[in-house]
Amino acid sequence: MQLNVNGKSHEVDVEPTTPLLWAIREQIGLTGTKYGCGIAQCGACTVHIDGAAARSCAIPVSAAAGKRITTIEGLASGKALHKVQKAWVDHDVPQCGYCQAGMIMAVAALLRAKPKPTDADIDATITNICRCGTFQQVREAIHAAAKA
């Protein structure tokens, strides 16, 4: 099966029911995308599929074949950080950081759909779990990225 990840085509040898997350991590070897629950509850595994945020732990790889997949490793263009990543650095958002790749991917998709999100937009869209509790900085950084 062919997967298009971060602009490159990868041949992966997995059962079609394998969650996309594990194909990305264990076949393609990109480990920035995290496992947190396996049931699309926490958002740690968030990637973009054709530009939209998707929880890759609950999507079979067969459903992603032929689509454009972006992971945290593919968010920056070359060495220039994506504006969400830059806002994250400027606001010192991560604590342990484990959930942040998924959080950043969710936010990047939000900003693409809604370049100037309101707090209500953020509340409705960003439902990722962060056990360290970085939400206050996440919100500040989203607004900062929206202005960038």
Partner: protein, 728 residues
């Protein structure tokens, strides 16, 4: 309880070991085996400063970074005294194996109890200062001038009279050959330039690009992956399992029993291992605990509330006589459930075993604890073992004293010599096999005289002891008492009680269960703050007094407790009208040697939809090393504490934990996040307070007290979801 060992002398041992192309200034402090340690293994550390020719400063930190900012804060303290260029500071973990080989030169690695900075600051700063003195001396020797005529700043040494300058990198080698100074003077905190400032964290960039390697992400050549299931009934054992079906599944290399209690599948990928494990039929010998339920545990605890025998944690006057002679008595029973840490990164460890060497890579709060588990499971001597610490995807107390995943990983690796095996728990395994926040019930009785003066108070705790399960020797030494049960209400020490109440008795009927308890962020302050601080509001209500004014009557002898309480009251606007529809609550406590208070402002819609609009949190931690990181720990602790208050309970049915994932064990999202206003008000003194945990305990009682103001309803058991109350 933790206490600092007495330090009578300071020895700095110079090492000439080269490192990183430069020179290591080894700073050995007297925390070797000759030092008497507190019974609970109170933490000690040693820092290493490495200076490379390009002036890069590598600060070696024995504490673990799990998001709390400790490595940045410790590096700030070293850099402050070292007078080095902060832009060139980086950090590095020494390994536990090196520590053993070098007679525990770095002391204890334990990173729990909010001790990362508060228990390390002195010798870390001494280390930085001693290194600076040696670098200056080396430059002075080269210039043949007295060291006293030279000064150091920003990694540059200057001889003012002659105008000569050099850099740390240039004199590091010469400095390393010098005798270490005997008399090292530390700066006054008011002169700090790097410490005490909100420096950016040193570990952010890799966390936003996906480059940061967690234990979970580790890759080694030839590595296989393992999934595991341990008996879901605690104390149960494997009776039998049918390996045949799983063995034939794609990618599977081995199906094996791990110890008496677990079965693992090793495969090429973790997904294959997990898929095969799910297909496996395991028959368990569930043992004597298979009928235990939350209800049966609650009955045992309830009986403890009235038991004659109990361990005393705090006593003055005669509370029982005061209650017997009371004009009015107020009584309330509270309870707190089992809760899981739910680190975002599930438990994992990677092990490689050969008869000559066993290595473990693990995200751990205590590298030495991991090392001990490795030694025990491998059967190899210490010089053939090594642990490599990896940054953690959350710890919260789960990854310190408990190294069950290391034991499992080593046992699996022993069955496949030479092959590295990464053991990863599924979220379900992580939820089932927690080391849970213990269950506790509490009956509080207050006595009033005819003039509504509080004349006595009895607080009876009944429930589980963590130390009895984890550090039984400590409990035995204290004649069966677990002093840690009294955190926040204890008679003395870093968790001492913040009120002076006439005729006080606080005691604990220890009631242990088969569910393994653990240190859960904040530990026993979580329930003790809810019990006591909500009951203070109940007493104030019964006396017809304002909750703040009522508390103040008993706080004259506790100025720092009062200081933080007043600070949050003033900031929230206590005594002034709240915005329409909003209600306020307060709480205060001393924990991990920090004085903390919170004031919450909430609204309640339809009697059960709670919006927490604001929480003000004040911390008097003695000294503030990085205010921005303190703010984040305060806000983060509120998220952890309020998630627990509203949403989280692990219930027991048929001897096992029922909740297996976030669908039944929820955690706060951004929409529920209140505006957190942190007041950092350090008042100095000889003792430094902790940061990672203390404020967690004041959020819940502040919100519960506000809920009472809003609804007239007193909620006395956690979580609020059991009362149909939602956080919105």
């Amino acid at each position: 309880m933790t206490t600092m060992p007495k330090i009578n002398r300071r020895t700095f041992l110079l090492s000439t070991a080269a490192a990183g192309g430069g020179l290591a200034l080894g700073l050995r402090l007297p925390f070797g085996p000759e030092i008497v340690r507190a019974a609970d293994g109170s933490p000690e550390i040693n820092a290493w400063v490495v200076i490379r020719p390009d002036d890069t400063v590598v600060v070696r930190v024995a504490r673990s970074e799990m998001g709390q900012g400790t490595i940045t804060g410790l590096a700030q303290l070293v850099a402050e005294e070292l007078e080095c260029n902060w832009a060139k500071v980086t950090t590095e973990y020494p390994t536990p194996g090196q520590n053993v080989a070098r007679k525990r030169v770095w002391g204890d690695f334990s990173t729990g109890g909010s001790r990362g900075i508060r228990m390390s600051h002195e010798y870390v700063r001494q280390g930085g200062a001693a290194a600076r003195m040696m670098l200056v001396q080396a430059a002075a020797n080269q210039w043949k001038v007295p060291a006293a005529e030279c000064s150091a700043a920003n990694s540059v040494i200057t001889h003012k009279a002659s105008g000569r300058k050099t850099t740390y990198g240039k004199v590091a080698e010469a400095a390393a050959k010098l005798e270490p100074p005997k008399d090292v003077k530390l700066k006054d905190s008011k002169d700090w330039k790097i410490a005490g400032k909100s420096m950016k964290r040193l570990d952010t960039l890799d966390k936003v690009t996906g480059k940061q390697v967690y234990g979970f992400d580790l890759k080694l050549p030839g590595m296989l992956n393992a999934a595991i299931m341990e008996s879901p009934v605690f104390g149960g054992k494997v009776k039998s399992f049918d390996a045949a079906k799983a063995s034939g599944m794609k990618g599977v290399k081995k199906v094996l029993q791990v110890g008496d209690t677990a079965v693992a599948v090793v495969a090429d990928t973790w997904w294959h291992a997990k898929t095969a494990l799910d297909a496996l039929t395991i028959v368990w010998d569930e043992g004597p605990n298979a009928k235990v339920s939350s209800a049966s545990i609650a009955e045992v605890l309830k009986a403890g509330l009235g038991a004659e025998q109990a361990f005393v944690g705090n006593q003055s006057g005669d509370a029982k006589a005061a209650l017997a002679g009371a004009a009015k008595k107020i009584e309330a029973v509270y309870s707190y459930p089992y809760q899981n840490h739910v680190c975002m990164e599930p438990m994992n460890a990677t092990a490689r075993f050969t008869p000559d060497k066993c290595e473990v890579w693990v995200p751990t709060q205590d590298g030495e604890s991991s090392f001990a588990a490795l030694l025990s499971a491998s059967g190899l001597p210490a010089d053939k073992c090594e642990v490599y610490k990896i940054n953690l995807g959350g710890g919260f107390g789960r990854r310190g004293a408990f190294q069950d995943y290391v034991t499992q990983a080593v046992r699996i690796a022993k069955e496949m010599p030479g092959t590295p095996v990464k053991l990863l728990w599924s979220r379900e395994e992580d939820m089932r096999q927690g080391r849970f926040h213990p269950v506790m019930q509490c009956k509080l009785t207050g006595a009033f005289d005819a003039s509504n003066n509080l004349t006595g108070l009895h607080m009876r705790l009944s429930g589980q002891s963590i130390l009895a399960a984890v550090r039984p020797a400590v409990v035995e030494k204290d004649k069966g008492r677990d002093a840690l049960s009294f955190q926040g209400v204890f008679e003395t020490g870093e968790h001492s009680f913040g009120y002076t109440i006439p005729n006080l008795l606080i005691d604990h009927a220890m009631r242990n269960t088969h569910v393994p308890p653990g240190f859960w962020r904040g530990v026993n302050i979580n329930q003790n703050a809810i019990f006591f601080e909500c009951f203070m509001d109940e007493l104030a209500q019964a006396a017809g007094q304002d909750p703040l004014e009522f508390r103040r009557k008993f706080m004259a002898g506790h100025p720092r407790n009062l200081g933080v309480l007043n600070a949050v009251a003033e900031r929230i606007g206590w005594g002034k009208p709240a915005p329409k529809g909003r209600f306020r609550g307060l709480a205060q406590m001393k924990a991990f040697n920090s004085f903390v208070a919170a004031a919450a402002e909430i609204s309640v819609e339809g009697g059960n939809k709670v919006k927490v609009h604001r929480i003000v949190g004040a911390t008097d931690c003695g000294y503030a090393v990085n205010p921005a990181q303190i703010d984040r720990q305060v806000a983060g602790s509120f998220v952890y504490g309020l998630s627990a208050l509203f949403m989280q309970e692990c219930t027991v049915k048929d001897g096992r934990i029922e909740q297996e994932n976030f669908d039944t064990y929820d955690s706060m999202r951004i929409a529920q996040m209140p505006k957190v206003e942190s007041i950092i008000m350090p008042t100095g003194g000889a003792i430094w307070g902790g940061i990672g945990e203390p404020t967690i305990c004041v959020a819940a009682p502040a919100v519960l007290n506000a809920f009472f103001q809003a609804t007239g309803k007193r909620i006395r058991s956690v979580p609020l979801k059991n009362h149909g109350i939602q956080m919105v």
